[in-house]
Symmetry: C2
Subunit: 152 residues, 2 copies
DNA sequence: CAAATGTCTACCAATATGGTAGATTTAGTA
DNA sequence: TACTAAATCTACCATATTGGTAGACATTTG
């Protein structure tokens, strides 16, 4: 039931890009140093996110990455699926990598795992990066700091 | 977010043993053939479950395994944790393998993953093997069969 | 043209997963 | 007591996944 390092980094990068939405493209190097993510590793994470249409990129000097659409239209579920694959604990209850199991109708493990999948997707497919930005700002205020960096 | 084969087999074996609670010990071989689980693999799964106190065993001729307590006192969560470890998607929100992350108080990823963990454990720490047996029997009735085997 | 950037292909070490093999210990039974 | 069927223990092992790294190439800007 583990979130991979890849997805973890992806979420951090996405929050960073959401915080800087409007600003135009942001370079890999900036994200990798600010969020302390190995640059080469981050490169193929962002590439993956571009290939599924979550990010846009610009090549060459002054290039970089930016969100392909507004942060409130991108959910955590979309990002995690792009990198780790299905959210469902078993394939027979997965939306994106569905494979029927032997006795689908009567399989009781399947029925529980369906409940688990729904519980997970209820959270991750509802939460957008706009929500994440709001949470980040709120938690900063509560902490009573006006630091320029926020912990994601 | 995947359930391992190990946990999957463990759940099947546990349901089998729950269905046969009262009957005394059941042998590995019987479970492995009925549930089509590689016997040697099942051996160390059951051994693990015994070591954490979920199963009792009896050695020697006429030996075997049985539940250490009534099926309504054992949850799916207990079994999966014994084999796969933490249910939480990240360690900083785990009960059993908790490790603080850098900025615990303000980390927004952590706060979402806490929600995910709670959603998962709400299902898995609530569902007992007695519930599973009931579900299995219900789904048989609905199917209108009186087969001796049930699909788990 | 030079420099800075993303893109692509290929590789790699460490760990987890899904097993298998074989010797040993224990307990019931003839 | 000897035999046998069961769990237990120790040790492997092949394959896939994870978490990266290296380096050449393509593209844009100044």
């Amino acid at each position: 039931m583990k979130l991979s390092k890849k997805s973890d980094y992806a979420l951090r990068a996405m929050i960073y890009l959401s915080m800087n939405y409007q600003r135009g493209t942001v370079q890999i190097k900036e994200i990798s140093t600010k969020e302390r993510i190995p640059q080469k590793f981050l490169e193929n994470i962002l590439l993956t996110l571009r290939k599924v249409g979550i990010l846009n990129s610009k090549m060459g000097l002054k290039g970089g990455y930016e969100l392909a659409r507004s942060p409130d239209l991108i959910t955590l579920g979309q990002v995690i699926r792009a990198l780790d694959g299905a959210l469902a604990p078993v394939d027979c209850v997965s939306q994106i990598s569905y494979k029927p199991c032997a006795e689908e109708v009567t399989c009781v493990i399947r029925s529980v795992m369906m409940d688990v999948r729904n519980a997970i997707t209820d959270v991750l497919d509802t939460m957008t990066f706009a929500d994440m930005c709001k949470r980040a700002k709120d938690s900063l205020e509560k902490k009573g700091t006006n630091a320029l960096t926020y912990s994601i």
